[in-house]
């Protein structure tokens, strides 16, 4: 037998052997504890209410807001375009596909941010990407967007600018509900449509045949 073939066979075996060392077993989808702890302390996961409002108004298609409160609370008040998945149902098979994708930025929302943080931790532990938490939750959303406080006379000019932006955003989100109602309707529909399509797209890959 030619020496060349022996060398090639050894190379092949060595490469296959190398596989044993390079990867953590695929069975466990969870990420390393150290990586997780590092990301827990990373403030970059917080996204503030102004940014979220801005992205909703500009109809950013990469934004997916997941409201993790109870359905009753969600019915009472919600951010237009958000999807309600109660915290307890977050890791269900059918709900996972909303979170487990690399296309959209997922923003978790709850009243003060505690539940949203828990949701974030659950998802981050599974190694999912592009996860955010709405900073200080819906309370902050209400304070800043729905009912912004007019800054004091002596406040710097930036504060006033921010205030007028927030007031505009508030109007967009239906603070004067009877005037702006149709707009909200439109927003909800527009926001939800692309999300469903994308989720489906991921599944379709599996459905197609080879030969």
């Amino acid at each position: 037998m030619s020496i060349r073939y022996i060398i090639l066979a050894l190379v092949l075996i060595a490469v296959a052997f190398g596989l044993l060392f390079i990867t953590v077993p695929e069975k466990s989808n969870q990420i390393e504890v150290t990586t997780f702890l590092k990301s827990i302390n990373d403030p970059a996961r917080f996204i503030n209410t102004d940014d979220v409002a801005d992205r909703i108004i500009t109809e950013d298609p990469t934004l997916l807001i997941i409201d993790v409160r109870k359905p009753a609370e969600f019915e009472a008040f919600n951010i237009p375009g958000s999807v309600n998945i109660p915290l307890g149902d977050l890791m269900n098979e059918e709900n996972r596909k909303y979170i487990n994708q690399n296309l959209l930025d997922v923003v978790f929302v709850s009243n003060d941010g505690v539940y949203a943080n828990t949701a974030w931790a659950l998802a981050a532990q599974n190694g999912y990407k592009n996860l955010y938490v709405l900073e200080r939750g819906l309370n902050r959303w209400f304070e800043t967007i729905m009912a912004p406080v007019e800054p004091a006379e002596t406040a710097p000019i930036e504060e006033f600018e921010l205030f007028s932006v927030r007031k505009g955003a508030g109007q967009y989100f239906g603070v004067q509900a009877y005037i702006e109602a149709p707009v909200i309707e439109k927003v909800i529909q527009k926001k939800r449509a692309p999300k469903k399509v994308i989720v489906k797209e991921v599944q379709e890959v599996e459905a197609e045949g080879g030969c």
Binding site: V15, L19, L20, P25, E26, K27, E208, G209, G210
Partner: protein
Amino acid sequence: MGPLTPNGIISTEWNYVIAVLIGMAFGFILEASGFSSSRKLVGVFYGYDFAVLRVFFTAGLVAIIGLLYLNYFGYIDYSVLYVYPTYLNSAILGSVIMGLGFIIGGFCPGTSLTAVAIGKLDGWVFTGGLFIGIFIFSELFNMEAVENFYNGNYLGHITIMDYFDINPYGFVLIFTLLAVAAFTIASIVRRRVKQVFY
């Protein structure tokens, strides 16, 4: 990162161009490896030519190992790849019928197409047979029993790791060792078997 089309990095308009290019490479490699010759293909069953075994297992190993490495380095998302689904009934009976077709007809569908391209009449006839076989199946498919059998014992899009609950890397290593052993045995057998010239 990859796969490119499902992740929307390459737009779907390019699909058909890519399809033709991939097909060309596939046909070229099969033909250049001698797979347009039925007597060369069938040699694997009689021990006078092991080209099928060598090409098939080398290709399989390169693809398996390569994809696992690409997945590790983050170039490809293994979970998005299409995994051929397992329907136990139809896979077993279907592959037995295909094995019979292989030893009788001397081709498999891909290789018969390469034989068609270089003007082998047996390749043309085999491909004609393929059409008739597919037609017969589609006619029989309207019978409920056939359709039930076709969909029976569905296990899902599962991999070896899912079924046996084992570590894929250990499995790949064992598979590699088996393949190398098979290559060695094949070359020993080939030297002992009476040579057939074709």
